[in-house]
């Protein structure tokens, strides 16, 4: 099966700035791909290349089997796009803008349009200049979600939406998925990514640093363990895969374990006689902190009682 989005070694420069520096991204049909990275890492730039708005300097990009630059007009009949910063025409009403973007784009399903306006609780007769930030976002979302697109590209779609509307958005995306649509979603809201996306790609400084399912990514990080054993456990500190070892007394210690080494470490612990054990899987935050942190070094934002934000050298 050909990928819905296939990007390899993508390079985009703005004068001296290398916004994308060999980025890779692959989204299979029917997937929801979370697209993550710190501010200025190149998410919007990648998306604009995929929408044929920016011309790539080097590398490959294919969207729905076509070239995003040369086949833009044809492709855009199959893609719905919501930009990060929605700007509306001050003199056009919300309803007019929905029709404009919908009909010029992947078409509009009148029934769905009415339903989405209802669900997002939008007044379509207001003029563009009078909408609040969240309502501007809704206008673009309704236009995108009311059409017949195969692929949805969202650049921080829920920025400015209230929690209720965020839920409406997540439900709507869920419905798109059940219809077999593909979604690329750039977001800074981790809860949203966790609940919507089965795959994530994390980029930093224009390069892909991690890609895979959330489960796979968790596997690459560390679990923190607080254990009490019947026999003394001081020797555990020297075991491969154990770090940040802190002995409270002879029988109790906290430390971090690389997930890949968990089986070995657990069997060693079992040999010491486990009295009590508490382990904490890495949260998504920890996962991101680790990748967002500059040069892979710790960010003080990482919670001190977990050892998730390890240095790059610790990676298994």
């Amino acid at each position: 099966m050909t990928a819905a989005i296939h990007v390899e070694d993508l390079v985009k420069t703005f004068g001296p700035v290398r916004a994308l520096d060999g980025l890779d991204l692959r989204v299979e049909p029917g997937q929801v791909m979370g697209f993550l990275g710190p501010n200025g890492s190149g998410k919007s730039t990648t998306i604009r290349v995929l929408m044929g708005l920016l011309r790539r300097d080097a590398g490959q990009a294919t969207v729905l089997g076509q070239d995003p630059w040369h086949d833009a007009v044809e492709l855009h009949r199959r893609i719905a796009y919501v930009p990060g910063d929605v700007n509306l025409w001050p003199g056009l009403s919300g309803g007019e803008i929905i029709d404009l973007l919908g009909r010029l784009g992947p078409g509009l399903d009148q029934g769905r349009r009415a339903e989405m306006i209802e669900r997002f609780d939008l007044d379509p007769t207001k003029k563009g200049r009078t909408y609040s930030k969240g309502n501007r976002q809704k206008v673009a979302l309704i236009a995108a979600l009311s059409g017949h697109a195969e692929l949805f590209v969202f650049d921080e779609p829920t920025s400015g939406l209230d929690p209720l509307m965020e839920t409406v958005f997540q439900e709507a995306v869920g419905e798109m998925l059940s219809e077999g649509k593909t979604v690329l979603l750039s977001s800074h809201i981790l809860a949203e990514v966790e609940s919507l996306c089965d795959q994530v790609t994390i980029i930093r400084e224009g390069r892909t640093v991690e890609a895979g399912t959330l489960a796979e990514l968790r596997h690459l990080t560390r679990t923190s363990v607080d254990v009490t054993t019947t026999r003394p456990l001081a020797a555990m500190g020297a075991v491969d895969g154990v770090s940040d070892f802190l002995a409270h007394d002879e029988h109790r210690a906290t430390f971090a374990v690389a997930n890949a080494d968990l089986p070995v470490v657990m069997s060693r612990l079992a040999g010491l006689g486990i009295e009590a054990i508490e382990s904490q899987p890495p949260t998504l935050e920890e996962l991101f902190m680790r990748h967002y942190a500059v040069d892979g070094s710790d960010r003080s934002a990482a919670p001190p009682d977990t050892a998730a934000a390890g240095s790059a050298g610790d990676r298994p």
Partner: protein
Amino acid sequence: MTANGFAGTGQLLRLILRLDRIKLALWLLGLLAVIAVTPISLRAIVDAEAEADGTTAEQVLAEQAALIETNGASIALQGPPDALDTFGGRYAFEIGAFTLAVVALMNILLIARHTRAEEESGRAELVRAAAVGPWSALAAVGSVALITNGLLGLGTSAVFIADGRPVDRSLLYGASVALCGLLFAALSLIWVQVFEYGRAATGMSLAVLGASFALRAVGDVQDNWLILLSPLGWVQAVDAFGDPAVWPFVLSLAAVVVTVAVAIALVVRRDVGAGLIEQRPGPPQADPTLPHPLGLAWRLQRSTLLWWTVGAVALGALYGSVISSIDDFVEDSEAMREVLEGLGMSGDALRDGFITVILSLIALITTAGVIQSLLRPRSEEVSGRAEAVLACSISRRAWLGSHVLLSLAAAPSFMLAAAVGLSITDALVAGGFTDVGATLAAALVRVPALWAVAGIGVLLYGWVRRFSLGVWAVFAGVAIVFLFGDLLRLPDAVLNLSPIGHVTHLPGGDQGWLSVVVLCGVALLGWAAGIALFDRRDITDA
């Protein structure tokens, strides 16, 4: 609200000066350059003629004054023919109403930039949230206007004093130039309160400026009270080098005080970001023509285009109403007729000459409208709205092409509208139509000039968006060559480069068709290259 209403004015003032230091310096230098060049070149012309005729410079000046006094076209363009037998008066005449209009323009743009545009971008909210009073923004931008116009006035006086004009008269003239700027700054302060949109407020101020220019033109040609309706007319009525009048200063200062007071009262009556004119709701669904490249472009541009068309009719109508006074000049004066016949001209030639100048002037003014229309894609792109549309199934060619098509259609519409307005009022005043066909043809023959400037604009925009405002520099160049080319004694090669003025001789004269062909060629090349280049470049809002 007491003194605190103005809290933070000092910081805002410094901020504006910092943001604008280069822009304002360029405006001031440009204006002062035009003002300073006038005495130098005029003196050279007069001295040369005096030497050739073996007379004195004063005599030459007096002879030329007699000719200018009968020349309705230059009076309409430049101002009342006061004190033309003095060097000071003649300089003031040559600097003219048009330069004063540019001073007004500088002020209108200054005010719009630091009031409405700031609010639209949301920056004003940031500023107001800081410890800044509701009137501080007004006070700050008002102070900048005071400083700017003060410098301009002083510089103008300095130019005249350096040329050897009497100090008191020179200061008076400088003051009148500064006053002109302040009047329009104050007027703009009101419009930016009334309208929610910078574009609408600026449009309204420009309409007032256009009306002021036209009213004083008619008033000056007919030498009547119409100048009292025009701030530009007041300023020129100062007559610094002849018989100075005080009333224009009193009237202008009173007007400034009243408008500023009204603006201050309006500020606290509205919310930041809102206008005084309420928004009506729109239709819940789009008209079927809207989701179409041309439909969208038309919807976005139609009000601008309609207003310009209305303005063109009005401008033409105002000038048309004075044409028969030109005929009267000739009929009233046997001597005048003899002079003209001696020069091989008939009364008709004077009439045609007037219409030729007026149509060229209207072509110049409406070029600004065409440029405004063709720069619409630019503001769509800067705002990020172009991104949303071009991410739809619409080709870049269709998108840009639609906007360009409208700006092209605008050129003949504006020119024909002006010609129709001119013919109608002329007919009303004279009691019958005269050669309407020739007037319409003369209007149309100027259209390729507008297209050529538009072509350069499209080329710049399609190439690199940052360059697209360069089309205003082209416009400024065309305006300078048209308005000051003869005075500056620019070589023919340069005069012929300007698409407006020198290359058109209709109605009445012989039209060189080569220039029309060349202009159409430039236009076509510009559109084609601009659209082709646009197909290749990045769309960004940065």
